[in-house]
Chain length 349, copies 2
């Protein structure tokens, strides 16, 4: 399925790590928009179960999002940082996890999706090989690749992607970058849409900080065929968002990029853990993710938001506590209203 | 003048430092859009001359943009960095400038504008006091304050601003932040418009990476009443852009934020000077601006782009070599087309 074929040009972002549920994916699909089952962090069996559970709730198409594996980091790169977390572990009465590399069961998940295809397979953290893209397309799926700069867009086009999910710096959760590096490529969404549209004719899905119908209308004007929305769905009752996280999203707490929780740049609400550990955190994903997992589980169990990875986009304070179908309808109505108002502004000349 | 009253909802950004000319300001005004005379770096006499020259070219309203002065930095904060520039000075056969503080003739320029008002006085690098805002308003000017995060927006509202220029991280040249700090507040334009619109009812002008009619339409949808555009006017024949800078804007060179040229965060094309000196550059504006001025002058004279501050927004590669009036007309036509296309995307449901 291509973004231009959606009945409602809204896509619910994958939201790996707990917020995505079959109920949320299905509710969005039933409302005419499009949703993703998040394969990240799930075993192939759990992914299969999520796909089945979603199919039981809706006959509408949906997608699956996969993490593209990187490579193992040198132990010297992450061991000093993990050592600094010993106090955190004591404070929360847990042992840190083993900082290790694994590929999120990449090959098994590709096989599963090839054998039992969904409408769209999207990718984060990299670009699949042209061979894998072709296998998924042959199975009947469209392949969407998430990009954060124009060079990644060109790579994805060469690999044969059907569409690009264009992620701006505003986005909550992990940056989708092919390589996790500091520096130049930190594009705002609106600028990135303009530059990517000039480099490739592929259809674009815009993502990052979209929480209102005005922003949906904006990205459609800026060249996207659909708006992908994450954080703004996390307060829906169908979402699996942890209660402490749900509450924090409704505040005006600022966000920041950090590697402290997972070893990969991600945007979250500024809390104690982020403040104290971001500066030292290395590029070492998923090693740091595994090391901090018991801390985060303890935080969730205790309702302690100060140790949680409170992923949130820059507009989290605009997220609404509404059932997903109502949210989709509200966003569409607002978008229509904003388009009319914008026409009046221009037409006044 | 309020942004909602513009005949064409496009504002040419101030572009202090050479690109702004009376001819460019007047051409934009004649086309029904709005332009600024840049007071930054100019003496009060030069500012008066620029205002007069602009008035000779157009009877349409225009504005003046002022830099709000900060305070002097400790010499220990910038001397080590200035010492690292000794090789650059030798290489270019110049003496470095004296790293010093001055307030850009703040009080004299306010007096000048009070005595001889223009339609809009806009501010960058801070918020004027409520007393100064009231004086300018009493003289007949509207006061627009540039903001980069929602807290600054609230401060400007309290000071009595008539409108806010909302600057996203995409913008070329200096970040307008009230305080030049690293960290949390690096909002993408689309997200910032959404958050600021929720915090204050003031009319908003969007700026940062706007180079196409699609982006103009986008910010109007996202709640702005006008789009302020800088880099995309810098290739116009009426602009005073240095030839080496003009040429560099047409390339796909990435941009980055740096304090290396002026001691204040600004976005420019990545070149040798930016790569070699950004890491060490301190927060010390305008001290570093004065220290590097002879280097930059030598670079401009020699056409050596590698030592110039090549200010550029993230979409510089979309800037067009067109007369300003033609550019304004093209942006409006594109914006109308994109609004219609966006309506079709939404209406297809």
């Amino acid at each position: 399925m291509l973004p231009g074929a959606l009945r409602v040009p809204i896509v619910r972002a994958p939201l790996a790590g707990g917020a995505s549920t079959p109920a949320l994916t299905a509710a969005v699909a039933q409302a005419g928009a499009f949703g993703f089952v998040a394969a990240g962090y799930r075993t192939p069996d759990a992914l299969r179960d999520d796909v089945c559970a979603t199919r039981e709730l809706t006959g509408e198409p949906f997608g699956v999002n996969l993490f593209v594996p990187g490579g193992p980091a040198e132990s010297g790169a992450y061991e000093p940082f993990v050592a600094t977390l010993a106090d955190e572990a004591r404070r929360h009465g847990v042992a840190l996890g083993e900082p290790r590399f694994e590929d999120d069961a990449w090959a098994d998940k590709i096989e599963l999706l090839e054998a039992d295809p969904v409408a769209v397979v999207s990718f984060t953290f990299g670009c699949p090989s042209a061979e894998i893209v072709a296998r998924l397309q042959a199975a009947g799926s469209a392949v969407w690749v998430t990009v954060t700069d124009p060079d990644e867009a060109e790579q994805a086009a060469v690999a044969g992607a059907d569409a690009l999910v264009v992620q701006g710096i505003e986005a909550g959760g992990h940056r989708a970058s092919f390589v996790d590096a500091d520096g130049a490529g930190e594009y705002g969404l609106l600028a990135l849409l303009g530059v990517v549209a000039q480099r490739t004719p592929l259809p674009l899905v815009a993502t990052g900080g979209i929480a209102t119908g005005g922003a949906v209308a904006a990205v459609l004007c800026a060249g996207a065929q659909a708006a992908q929305i994450g954080t703004a769905f996390m307060r829906c009752p169908e979402a699996g968002t942890a209660p402490a996280h749900r509450e924090a999203l409704a505040t005006r707490t600022p966000t920041a990029l950090t590697r402290a929780f997972t070893g990969r740049q991600a945007r979250g609400l500024v809390n104690r853990f982020l403040r104290e550990h971001s500066e030292a955190a290395p590029v070492a994903y998923p090693h740091i993710h595994h090391a901090t997992a018991p801390l985060r589980a303890a935080g969730r169990a205790a309702g302690d938001a100060e140790v949680l990875n409170l992923w949130a986009g820059q507009t989290h304070e605009l997220a609404r506590d509404l059932p997903a179908a109502e949210l989709v309808a509200a966003l569409v109505a607002e978008a229509e209203e904003r388009l009319s108002a914008a026409r009046r502004s221009l037409g006044a000349q």
